[in-house]
């Protein structure tokens, strides 16, 4: 199954255009045509052409930028669709599918019936396609790309063997234009001249070498839904429905050894309006009795309107969560309970706002620690303890004094304080490799000042641009 114009078909399906249409792609400095529709090809355009040249050929050409990632996704959805014909469906390059219909064709009335069905459905979906069927994968590919029947495989040009372009050119220069020329030629010189790839392709096309297709497994889909015969509106009813949805979802997560990190409960009301309850968990989890109470707060806020008649639960984000050996020595209860608590608080103030401190390697007081969301980090040990540090830091507050020694008396926050003991200085140099406006004033000499009034403050002096500041307070 070959889709010669897959990218442009994808775009034209949503925005049908009469007349020439092309997708353009920036290659190097120039915009080139990436894929074009039949009308554009009739106008004399071809792939790889400069967009500017194409415009001069065909002024009414409509273009859009190419999005190869969306094309790949479109092909993946076609692969899912092709699963209706047979279970063995594999991708073939960027624009083809290969199906192993052995033993499945009779369900559609033989190979011809199956091809007719595919043709009808793809035509209805407005996708340009070329189908080929053969006893080998290579033969089917050749038939899809170069036409002809299976008996005529030998009459097809050598390019039908899925060979690189330079090999094809070299073979044609040798006068080997058709596959029949190749089979007639002696194998040993061919292998010596072109390497084993040519003969492998030839044997694969003729069925002398097996070529399995690799069907890609469907990625597991973590969602469940329930449709209700009568609309419901009570919180208890919705929670009961959610409980029913959670059980199979958690069983599926367990089978895949995954844990949900973000869950989304979509409630569809009778008037087709959707309401979503999102739950972000502090740790991957698949324990239904523990997840269910966490939904309560969100469900209580939902406006049920005239009633809810369909509920869908999806694990939007999952993380691997391996099965764990239960042992008498494991004390799993505490981290689990802490994670539950973080989740519950996080539904109110946002999961990022519950933070923990991590040590960082810096002498700058403001940068000697990191603040990380507790849900996405693990506690670390290894706190350096260079010198006593204040328990509270604030933005530097200037005080009136000059000179390198600490002031005997100073005013700070409308208090007059006397220095009873000064410990220091501790010189901290700015980290020049990081831009920081606060440290523009150069090195700082930090002093711990025990005032006679009791308060223990952290002062610093900036000798390079003289000034005194209070930056912190000790316990």
């Amino acid at each position: 199954m070959w889709f010669p114009r897959l990218p442009s078909d994808r775009v034209l399906r949503t925005h049908p255009v009469e007349g020439p249409f092309a997708l353009s792609q920036r290659l190097g400095a120039a915009e080139t045509l990436y894929c074009l529709n039949a009308a554009a090809e009739r106008a004399g355009l071809h792939r790889g052409m400069r967009l500017a040249d194409a415009r001069s050929f065909c002024p009414e050409l409509l273009t859009r930028p190419a999005q190869p990632d969306l094309d790949a996704r479109f092909l993946a959805s076609l692969r899912r669709w092709a699963g209706r014909y047979c279970p063995w469906v594999g991708g073939d390059g960027a624009d083809g599918l290969v199906l192993d219909v052995t033993g499945a064709a009779h369900l559609f009335g033989g190979e011809a019936g199956m091809l007719a069905d595919m043709q009808a459905r793809l035509t209805r979906a407005r996708i340009n396609h070329r189908l080929g069927v053969g006893t080998t994968r290579g033969a089917a590919w050749a038939q899809a790309h170069f036409g002809g029947t299976e008996d005529g495989l030998l009459a097809l040009p050598v390019a039908a063997l899925r060979l690189p372009a330079e090999t094809v050119t070299a073979l044609q220069r040798l006068g080997l234009r058709h596959i029949s020329d190749l089979t007639a030629a002696a194998r040993a010189p061919l292998a010596r001249r072109f390497g084993p790839a040519l003969l492998t392709r030839l044997d694969q096309a003729l069925g002398d070498l097996p070529e399995p297709i690799t069907p890609e497994a469907e990625p597991p889909h973590f969602a469940t839904r329930i449709t209700l015969p009568e609309p419901i509106g009570l919180v208890a009813d919705v929670m009961a429905a959610a409980e029913r949805l959670l059980a199979p979802l958690c069983a599926k997560l367990q089978a895949q050894e995954m844990g949900a990190r973000r869950l989304c409960l979509t409630l569809r009301r009778v008037d087709q309006a959707n309401q979503q309850v999102e739950l972000r968990l502090a740790a991957p989890m698949r324990d239904a009795p523990r997840i269910l109470p966490l939904f309560e707060r969100g469900v209580a806020e939902v406006d049920a309107g005239f009633g809810i008649d369909q509920i869908r639960l999806e694990a939007v984000q999952v993380e691997p969560l391996p099965l764990q050996q239960l042992g008498h020595a494991t004390t799993q209860a505490n981290p689990d309970r802490l994670n539950d608590l973080i989740t519950r608080i996080g539904t109110r103030i946002g999961l990022e706002n519950i933070q923990r401190f991590l040590p960082a390697d810096s002498h700058i007081p403001e940068r000697s620690f990191l603040i990380a969301p507790a849900a996405f980090s693990t506690p670390e040990s290894g706190w350096p303890s260079p010198r006593p540090r204040p328990i509270r830091l604030f933005a530097p507050e200037p005080i009136l004094h000059s000179g390198p020694t600490p002031p005997p008396r100073f005013r700070w926050r409308r208090m007059t304080l006397t220095t009873a003991r000064a410990i220091g200085p501790e010189r901290i140099a700015p980290e020049w490799w990081l831009e920081d406006d606060m440290w523009r004033t150069g090195v700082r000499d930090y002093w711990r000042i025990d005032t006679g009034e009791g308060r223990r403050l952290w002062l610093f002096h900036t000798p390079q641009s003289p000034g005194w500041f209070v930056q912190g307070e000790f316990a």
Binding site: D340, I354, F357, S381, F394, E453, G472
Partner: protein, 195 residues
């Protein structure tokens, strides 16, 4: 008759207490350390000053400290109530910016009772709630004897179930213990001549 600090401190679990004064942060750190080495610190995002984890090092491991940043006091109280009720963390410290009314104070008390945890509100002076179990005033004192001292004066000025008192205390970082400095009259050494 002298009143002993151990009958008041560590703070009674299952209750919410209040502290104010310049040394209230140190008081809270010591309270969290003696309540069980893990704490949730609830504060509002807009507050200009910040906690410095290295400053907590003498008292408790900064890794055991969780910090919840809320947008206003209503959120702070909700978070604190949830954490107190849960009982996973033995101590919850709440920085209060506007006075609590009786209902809010009582809800915190009930939550603490349900979880068996200790709640501690850092209040600005004069913003106490009547529901609080105890109210403390913590002021630092200059200690001529030791450098790196944490000498403070703790006064208990409200107590629902006991008397009030005042002590000079300091925290010993090596032994992780709180030491009470005896009042001057009872210190060992030559007795003062009367008169």
């Amino acid at each position: 008759m002298p009143i002993h600090l151990p009958s008041f401190f560590p703070l009674r679990a299952g209750r919410v207490h209040e502290v104010y004064g310049p040394a209230s942060t140190g008081f809270a750190a010591i309270a969290a350390a003696s309540a069980g080495n893990a704490a949730l610190w609830v504060r509002e995002t807009w507050q200009g000053d910040s906690l410095h984890p290295l400053g907590f090092l003498p008292f408790l491991n900064p890794s055991a400290l969780l910090c919840a940043q809320t947008k206003d006091q209503t959120d702070s109280l909700a978070v604190a109530e949830e954490a107190l009720k849960d009982g996973t963390l033995p101590c919850v410290v709440i920085e209060i910016t506007r006075p609590l009314d009786l209902r809010e104070g009582r809800r915190l008390q009930l939550a603490a009772k349900a979880g068996g945890t200790t709640g501690l509100c850092l209040i600005p002076e004069g913003m106490g709630s009547n529901a609080a179990e105890t109210r403390w005033r913590a002021t630092p004192i200059y200690d001529p004897a030791r450098e790196d001292s944490t000498l403070m004066r703790w006064e208990i000025i409200k107590n629902k179930s006991g008397t009030i008192g005042a002590w000079n205390v300091f925290w010993n970082a090596q032994t992780h213990r709180l030491h009470v400095v005896p009042p001057v009259a009872q210190r060992p050494g030559p007795a003062h001549a009367p008169g």
